[in-house]
Amino acid sequence: MPLLVPNRHRGKLIVVEGIDGSGKSTQLSLLSQWLRSQRIAVAFSEWNSSPLVRETTRRGKKKNMFTPVTFSLIHATDFADRLERYITPLLKAGAVVCADRYAYTAFARDVVRGVSRKWVRNLYKFAVRPNLAFYFRVPLEVAIGRILGGRNAIKYYEAGMDLELSHNVEESFRIFQGRILDEYEAMIQEVGFHVIDATGSIEEQQRHMRSIVTDELGLSLRNGILRASQGDIDAAQAAAVVL
């Protein structure tokens, strides 16, 4: 079964994956700044960002209405909306789209929640295959230390409390994230992740990422990609201020 649809558009899709606390968002943000500094038109896309489905997701979470199947399907709906309305048009326009989490998040998380690997992989078959997918590998304890140090309360679904792994939120979170980590590790070959050692320094990780981007996309980043002039950048910033 071919996994995901090849990207036939002018633009490029770069995604980062990893468990919570792996530092992937920081790295993606640094990468996109670097690309922008080369006048490449970069667009950002976060998981769970579609206003259309947000209300349904909120309702389900608030009232604990989700089952493994509906949880998986509503996230796929949200993803489809994001893809159809945002990612695909941007790729057609020739942008470099940077996505913080992609279909692989569902491959890991939804399987841990109890749907089959085969079913969830089929579910996302409509997705565009990324040009580059980075996986931030981090030991569970390091990630948990970062999360517990930096944030307030862990939310119900984030901790996988619906799976009844433990009555203790922190313990449940630990078990849940550990299982997600196992799923990520098991799919590295299958989905072709570029593995980044997320225990290294921020600078080291970023250097590694940039060198992979240059090696893999170097030529295509010089030709074909949508570029911005200083005038475009100024105009876009001015427009953003007005909005």
């Binding site: 349904t56 309702r59 089952t67 509906t70 399907l73 709906t77 109890g114 089929n122 579910l123 409509f126």
Partner: protein, 230 residues
């Protein structure tokens, strides 16, 4: 073709559902828009209750989780085709797990106005991959009977004109602009839906009912067939 107990899943069993516990009957009424399904569902329900059966009736986009979101999204005409398919699939799964399965456990007759077949037919009519959507929907229970109310697209057009008196944006597939106006788009889109349902007919064991008969005749056909399930 009808089958009796026990119920089974197409290929992806739902977690936490023991088939042996499902004592009720699952009956599906399928068919394109405006073919007269809801009239028949209402009459069947009254008849079944009169016969002493407890009945749950349910239909697309009526679930507690996603029903509201779907209707809001449709109002704004903002749904892309894959998003719409998956939103309906979410609603279906929610109703299956939270309404249909509990009712079957309690021994109800579940009468459903459309099931995964319409959902799949709409997706296929919009050019989505048949194998993809079939696998997505494979967690569904195989019903005891599926009645496909079949009509040609010209019959549907007549019913829309005589009934509501205007074409509906979504029933016309206007999100995909199959034609330059609602009528042309309706004809092309519903033709595709009917073709997709026809193709499923054999594979999923539909009982095909000629929907151009009078509502009374159709009702008697359905009654005769459903009576054999008990």
């Amino acid at each position: 073709m009808l089958h009796k107990q026990p119920l089974s899943f197409y290929s992806e069993p739902l977690a936490g559902v023991d088939r042996e516990e499902l004592l009720g009957k699952l009956i599906v009424i399928e068919g394109p828009d405006s073919v007269g399904r809801s009239t028949q569902v209402a009459r069947l329900r009254a008849w079944l209750e009169h016969e002493g059966h407890a009945v749950l009736d349910t239909g697309l986009a009526r679930g507690a989780l996603a029903g509201k979101g779907i209707s809001q999204a449709k109002e704004g005409n903002l749904l892309g085709p894959v998003t719409m398919t998956l939103f309906y699939a979410t609603d279906f799964a929610d109703r299956l797990e939270n309404e249909i399965v509990p009712a079957l456990r309690a021994g109800f007759v579940v009468l459903t106005d459309r099931y995964i077949y319409s959902l799949m037919a709409r997706a296929i009519a919009r050019g989505e991959d048949r194998a993809w959507i079939e696998r997505v929907a494979s967690f569904a229970l195989v019903p005891h009977a599926i009645y496909y109310l079949r009509a040609e697209v010209r019959d549907l057009v007549t019913r829309v004109v005589l009934g509501r008196g205007s074409f509906d944006h979504w029933e016309s597939g206007m999100d995909m602009r199959f034609g330059s106006d609602m009528h042309d788009s309706f004809v092309r889109y519903q033709t595709r839906v009917i073709r997709a349902l026809d193709r499923m007919s054999k594979r999923y064991n539909f009982v095909v009912i000629d929907a151009t008969k009078t509502p009374d005749q159709i009702f008697r056909d359905l009654q005769r067939s459903i009576a054999k399930l008990f």
